[in-house]
């Protein structure tokens, strides 16, 4: 059964990807990309990667698609027919693909329990992490503790993206104020539904944030979901209204705070005599130290991701509104 689902999903992915090559309508391209992302999320679930599926659905089908739609709203939705030859790209791709297929020939067979990936490093995560870290979700244990430095790096990557977007798309409060009539105020039904849904989205984000230790979820997914609530608010009620709730300046400070909270946990553990990010030193009992550490750094991740995703959306949205005014 698993095999059948896997095959059907992979076939659908291949069809979606192939269709994108030939489509000239960018709106359809972006929509197909969103479908591609959803389908891969389904594959990830089928392959037991629930956390990854969650993130892929929130990011690929969610944030990335929203940003792409925002971009084509500004740049136009049709691709002009290409002029250059497709021969060289095709040749490069065939050579690269052949190299990869050659590489697969010595790969360990798919799904076998005695593959090298399951033997050397991973068993400790599976067998010891419930005892060493005390959390049932092994992905959270590895992400936040064993490989916590990677996750700090990831938070810094998100922060860098904000710096990049802000430097490119100037985001000023007065741009939004110029156009107080933005949003879709004419649609009463949307407004009422949005008002009901938004609190639930925020509640769900909080659940995902704090339940990530036990089930799929964690700071990153929670940040994206919370940002989605505000994005919905901005879409329905207009940018100038959402600025009254959380302004761009405040978001910058939040993003900074999140990174500093994460790094601060590391520095504090150094001050307590451990290595950077060694949560064992955060409390008398190593196990509760790990707990405190993970809750704090997940919070840092969540805050930064929320602030950055929302800032990026603001930057795009105010750009669209500026384009609309002109």
């Amino acid at each position: 059964m698993e095999l059948l689902i896997d095959l059907v999903l992979l076939a659908m992915l291949a069809l979606t990807a192939l269709r994108i090559i030939f489509l000239k309508d960018l709106f359809a391209v972006v929509m197909l990309f969103s479908i591609y992302s959803f389908l891969s999320a389904l594959i990830f679930i089928n392959l037991d990667a629930v956390d990854v599926a969650f993130t892929e659905a929130a990011v690929g089908a969610g944030i990335s698609t929203v940003l792409m739609l925002g971009t084509i709203a500004i740049t136009g939705r049709t691709e002009t027919p290409p002029t250059k030859s497709k021969l060289l790209p095709l040749l490069i791709v065939v050579v690269t693909g052949a190299a990869l297929i050659y590489g697969t020939l010595d790969m360990p067979p798919f799904g076998h329990a005695d593959n090298p990936v399951h033997e050397h490093v991973a068993p400790r995560y599976i067998e010891e992490s419930p005892k060493e870290i005390g959390l049932p979700n092994m992905v959270t244990s590895v992400l936040a503790s064993y490989r916590g430095f990677d996750t700090l790096g990831e938070t810094v990557v998100v922060f860098s993206a904000m710096i990049g977007v802000l430097s490119l798309l100037r985001l000023r409060k007065r741009d939004a104020d110029k156009n107080p009539e933005s949003g879709i105020k004419a649609h009463r039904v949307l407004q009422v539904i949005a008002k009901i849904v938004i609190p639930m989205i925020i509640l769900f984000a909080l659940y995902v944030q704090f339940h990530g230790d036990f089930g799929p979820g964690g700071g990153f997914q929670a940040g994206v979901i919370a940002a989605a609530a505000f994005i919905l608010y901005a879409l329905v009620f207009g940018l100038s209204n959402v600025f009254k709730v959380v302004g761009p300046k405040f978001l910058r400070i939040l993003a900074v705070f999140g990174v500093l909270l994460y790094a601060g946990v590391g520095v504090y553990s150094m001050a307590m005599g451990g290595n950077f990010l060694d949560y064992n030193y955060l409390a008398e009992n190593p196990l509760s130290g790990q707990h405190y550490g993970i809750i704090l750094i997940e919070l840092g991740v969540g805050i930064t991701v929320f602030a950055v995703m929302l800032s990026i959306f603001y930057a795009f949205d105010s750009q669209i509104e500026r384009a609309n005014i002109q």
Binding site: L13, S40, D48, T55, T104, F110, N137, V139, L168, G215
Partner: protein, 118 residues
Amino acid sequence: MSFIADYYNYWIVVFLMMTGFYIVISASNLVKKVVGLNIFQTSVFMLYISMGKVKGGTAPILTEGAAQYSNPLPHVLILTAIVVGVATTAVALSLIVRIKEEYGTVEENEFEKKDDAI
């Protein structure tokens, strides 16, 4: 037959990767290039997740009665990689918006004409 059953997953993933890669290097529209880049990366993520799978295993969340878990490490790596991917996408898209503003087009062949060559 078992050879195909053992490897079909990798081969399809390679095919998907190359489709994305082809879109990146062949498309002349910059938005489409970014879409291609995303497909390329998402397919690489599938390669990682495929290697973490254990047949008959369950998601790596401690549950009673589960004998075998899939490997959590690739999941962690890909969580990080997805985030890195969206960060790059955001910067790329804002570059495209600015390029449109400055050049009036987002087609590679068109703005190369408008620019004096480097």
